[in-house]
C-alpha cells in the first residue's frame, strides 16, 4: 500500500460538478504528474461536502485546508505553493464570515484574531508604570535566565537561531550584529536603543515604550551581558513626552529592584541605562548621526565603515538596535528561539508591528506574523477602505519606502519581497490610499519631507532632493514636461547611488516607485494637464453644470472672491481667472451642480 504525504479531496457533488470541479480534478492530475508527485499526493473525488454555495470545493490534508470557489486556473498555484512548498494559498482559503452584531471583547473580533502579539504582548494588558505587573507576566525572567544559566555566546547563539532581524527598517540579522559587537575587543562597550521614530504616520516604537517600557530595558540588559557592555542609552525624541516619562519611571523602578545597576541577581553583572533626548531631526534615526547627537555634536551621519560594532559611541564598540527589535528579545529567551523561528517565513521570522493609517476603516496598531499578505492586513484586519472608495495604493516604509498597487496585494509581507518591489518593510508605517489620493502629490509630500530633513552634509542629498522637488512642483502646477519624468528618474537613481547615509539613499524611493507603478498619473499631469484624483489645485477647475443649476445664488454669496456671477433663476457662471479654488461653492450647492475636475 502506498503512503501519501498529502491528499487532495475534490468535491464531485452535483453543485461543484456543475461549476467545473471535474476539470479541476483533471488539472490536478495533470499538475501532479508534471511535478512527479504521483507517489506522494493522492487525488480523491468525493461526494458533496454540503457547502455547495462555496463550490467548487477542494480540501487538502493533512492540514485540512479548505479551499472555496476554486477555478481551474488556481490549480497550478495550489500545487506549486501548497503541495510543493507547504504554503497554503490563503487567498482561496475559506474563512468564516465575520460576526455581525454586538461583540463584548475586542479579542473576539477578526481585527484581533488575525494578529499575533509578541513585541506588543504586554501593551494594553499591563500597567506600564508598575514593574510588579511586568514581573507578573514573566518580566525579567529572561534576564534572570540569561545571567544565571547562559554564557554570552549561548545568548548570541539563541538570538541568531531565532532569525530575528532589525525591525527599524534595515532588516539586518540581529544575532550577527550582537556577535560582531561581542567580538570587538575594548575596555568599554555600549548598548544603544534607537527610539528616534520619525516616519510620518508611524508610532510602533512609541506604543511599545508607552505600553511596555520594561521589555526594552530588560532586552538591553540582556544585550549588555551578551556583548560585554555595562552601559546603555536610549535615544528617544523629546516629542514623545509620555514615552519618555514612562521610561523614566521604568528605569527608576528597575534600579530600585536592582534589575538595573550593580551586581544584578548577585551574579556580578552590572548594567545601567540612561535616556538621551533627541530634538526630532529625522536624520538622527540613522545610527551614526544618532551617536553624534548623543556625543553632543550635530546629528550628522559618518561614512561607514567603521561600523558601530567596531567603533561607535565615543569610538567604542556599540550595539544599536531599534525598540521593537529589543521588545522581541525577552520573549525569544523565555520561550526559545525555535518557538520564535516557527513564526513567519523562511527569511523573515517572527512578527511585525504596523501602524495602520490613511484611508482605512480600522486605523490602529497591529502585529501580524511575517508572510501575511497585504490584502489580509488591509482588508481582514484593517476592515478595508471606508466610504465605498476604491483602493489605489499602500505606502510602506515611510519616506524611505514606496507605494505598492492592487496587483501587489497578495504579496507576502517579508523584508526581501517588499524590497524587490521597490518598497521596503521599513519601521512599520502602513498608509493606505484610495482613489482620491493623487500619487504625484503623495510622492511630492514625502520628498518635501526628506528634502526638509536632509542634514546637508553630502551634496547628492542636499541639492539633489531640492532639484527633484522643484521638478515635482512644476508637475503639480501643470508646467511639467515628459522630459521631466526622465530627469526625475535619472536624478533619483543618482541620489540613491551617491548619498552618504540611508536618508539620501532612500529619499527618492517614493518618487521612483510611483513613477514605476503610476506613470500614467504623472503623464496625465504633464500631457493632459489634469490631476485624475482631483487633488492638485493648479490643475483643477470648478465649473457649474448649466442644466443642474437652479440659479439660487447660494454659491455666489458664498464665494469669498466674487468669482461667481449670474442672475437669479438662471444658471450661474464661475470666472476661472478670479477663482481661487477654495471649494466653498461646491460644499454649499444644494443641487450638486458644481463639479471639480
Amino acid at each position: 500500500m502506498a503512503f501519501y504525504r498529502s491528499q487532495v479531496l475534490i468535491c464531485g457533488g452535483t453543485g461543484c460538478t456543475s461549476s467545473d470541479s471535474m476539470k479541476i480534478l483533471e488539472k490536478f492530475h495533470e499538475e501532479v504528474k508534471k511535478n512527479n508527485l504521483e507517489e506522494e499526493i493522492e487525488i480523491v473525488r468525493t461526494g458533496c461536502f454540503g457547502l455547495c454555495e462555496l463550490g467548487p470545493v477542494v480540501i487538502v490534508y493533512p492540514e485540512g485546508a479548505f479551499y472555496s470557489r476554486v477555478q481551474v486556473s488556481d490549480v497550478e498555484e495550489i500545487v506549486a505553493e501548497h503541495l510543493i512548498k507547504g504554503r497554503p494559498v490563503t487567498r482561496l482559503l475559506y474563512t468564516e464570515s465575520v460576526e455581525e452584531g454586538r461583540i463584548k471583547s475586542l479579542n473576539e473580533t477578526g481585527f484581533y484574531k488575525k494578529q499575533e502579539r509578541i513585541a506588543l504582548r504586554n501593551c494594553g494588558v499591563i500597567d506600564p508604570e508598575n514593574i510588579d505587573e511586568y514581573i507578573a507576566v514573566d518580566g525579567y525572567k529572561a534576564l534572570a535566565k540569561v545571567l544565571t544559566t547562559m554564557t554570552p555566546e549561548q545568548v548570541i547563539e539563541e538570538v541568531k537561531k531565532s532569525g530575528l532581524r532589525g525591525r527599524g527598517g534595515g532588516g539586518f540579522p540581529t544575532g550577527l550584529k550582537w556577535e560582531f559587537t561581542a567580538k570587538s575587543k575594548a575596555d568599554q562597550k555600549y548598548v544603544l536603543c534607537n527610539a528616534d521614530e520619525g516616519d510620518p504616520g508611524a508610532f510602533m516604537d512609541r506604543s511599545v515604550l508607552e505600553g511596555d517600557p520594561h521589555s526594552v530595558l530588560e532586552a538591553m540588559a540582556i544585550a549588555g551581558y551578551a556583548i560585554g557592555a555595562n552601559q546603555g542609552y536610549i535615544y528617544v525624541r523629546a516629542e514623545y513626552p509620555i514615552a519618555v516619562e514612562r521610561l523614566k519611571v521604568a528605569i527608576k523602578q528597575a534600579r530600585e529592584y536592582g534589575l538595573l545597576g550593580k551586581n544584578i541577581f548577585g551574579t556580578g553583572f552590572s548594567f545601567d541605562v540612561e535616556i538621551r533626548l533627541g530634538a526630532g531631526a529625522f536624520v538622527c534615526g540613522e545610527e551614526t548621526a544618532l551617536m553624534n547627537s548623543i556625543e553632543g555634536r550635530r546629528g550628522m551621519p559618518n561614512p561607514k565603515p567603521p561600523f558601530p560594532a567596531q567603533s561607535g559611541l565615543w569610538e567604542k564598540p556599540t550595539l544599536i538596535n531599534n525598540v521593537e527589535t529589543y521588545a522581541n528579545v525577552p520573549a525569544i529567551i523565555v520561550r526559545g528561539a525555535d518557538w520564535f523561528a516557527s513564526k513567519g517565513t523562511e527569511k523573515s521570522k517572527g512578527t511585525k508591528v504596523f501602524a495602520l493609517g490613511g484611508k482605512i476603516t480600522n486605523t490602529g496598531l497591529v502585529e501580524v506574523p511575517m508572510g501575511i499578505s497585504l490584502r489580509e492586513v488591509i482588508y481582514e484586519i484593517g476592515g478595508g477602505i471606508p466610504n465605498g472608495k476604491k483602493f489605489k495604493a499602500v505606502q510602506t516604509g515611510g519616506p524611505s519606502g514606496g507605494c505598492l498597487t492592487e496587483e501587489h496585494l497578495d504579496t507576502p509581507i517579508e523584508y526581501d519581497t517588499l524590497t524587490a518591489l521597490g518598497s521596503m518593510m521599513g519601521s512599520g508605517g502602513m498608509i493606505v490610499m484610495d482613489e482620491d489620493n493623487c500619487m504625484v502629490d503623495v510622492a511630492r509630500f514625502y520628498l518635501d519631507f526628506t528634502r526638509d530633513e536632509s542634514c546637508g552634509k553630502c551634496t547628492p542629498c542636499r541639492i539633489g532632493t531640492k532639484r527633484m522637488l522643484e521638478i515635482l512642483d512644476r508637475i503639480v502646477e501643470g508646467k511639467g514636461t515628459l522630459e521631466d519624468l526622465d530627469k526625475l528618474e535619472e536624478l533619483g537613481n543618482q541620489i540613491k547611488a551617491a548619498s552618504l547615509c540611508g536618508l539620501g539613499q532612500t529619499a527618492p524611493n517614493p518618487v521612483l516607485s510611483t513613477l514605476k507603478h503610476f506613470r500614467h498619473e504623472y503623464e496625465a499631469h504633464v500631457i493632459d494637464k489634469k490631476c485624475p484624483a482631483g487633488v492638485c489645485q493648479a490643475l483643477l477647475q470648478y465649473t457649474i453644470i448649466e442644466e443642474k443649476c437652479k440659479g439660487c445664488s447660494l454659491c455666489a454669496r458664498q464665494c469669498p472672491v466674487n468669482a461667481i456671477s449670474g442672475q437669479v433663476k438662471n444658471p450661474y457662471v464661475i470666472d476661472q481667472d478670479k477663482c481661487i479654488k477654495c471649494g466653498a461653492c461646491l460644499d454649499k450647492c444644494p443641487f450638486k451642480a458644481i463639479v471639480k475636475k
Binding site: 454586538r102 506588543l120 494594553g124 505587573e133 506604543s207 490602529g364 496598531l365
Partner: protein, 133 residues
C-alpha cells in the same frame, strides 16, 4: 534584586492583578493611556473610574492604566475583567459612561451593551450607523 526567588515571589504576588483569564479573583479595569488614548480623552475617564471606585468603596477592584490596545480610532477604550467572566471592551468612553460602567457592570454585574463594539457588514463600529457606501 538578589535572587530569582525574589523575582518569583513578586510574580506570584502580582499575578492575579494581571491575569487575563476567567480564574482571576478580583476585578480589573484598564484604561488605554497611550498617546492615542490620552489625545482622545482618556485622562478624565481614568479619573472618573478611580473616583467612582473609591466613592463606592470597592476594595477588590484594581484600576490601572495601560498602553496602546491597538484600536486607536475607538479610543478612549476601557476594558473590564471580572472573576469568572470574559474580558469586556468598551469603546469611545467619556467620564459619564465610565461611571455607569463602574456602577452597572463592575458592581451590578451587567454588561453595558450599548458601549461595546459591534460589527456591521464586517466593519467595527461603536454605534449602528453604517458608513455610507
Amino acid at each position: 534584586m538578589k535572587s530569582i526567588q525574589e523575582l518569583e515571589e513578586i510574580r506570584k504576588r502580582t499575578l492575579d492583578r494581571v491575569n487575563q483569564r476567567t480564574d482571576r479573583t478580583t476585578t480589573r479595569i484598564v484604561v488605554g493611556m497611550a498617546t492615542c488614548g490620552i489625545a482622545a480623552g482618556a485622562r478624565p475617564v481614568l479619573l472618573a473610574i478611580m473616583e467612582e471606585v473609591e466613592k463606592l468603596g470597592l476594595s477588590d477592584v484594581t484600576v490601572a492604566q495601560t498602553g496602546c490596545i491597538g484600536l486607536c480610532k475607538m479610543e478612549p477604550i476601557v476594558e473590564v475583567i471580572r472573576p469568572g467572566e470574559k474580558k469586556v471592551t468598551y469603546v469611545k468612553m467619556d467620564a459619564d459612561k465610565a461611571r455607569r460602567i463602574v456602577n452597572e457592570h463592575v458592581v451590578g454585574g451587567k454588561v453595558v451593551d450599548e458601549y461595546t463594539l459591534h460589527i456591521v457588514q464586517g466593519k467595527m463600529l461603536n454605534d449602528y450607523k453604517v458608513e455610507k457606501e
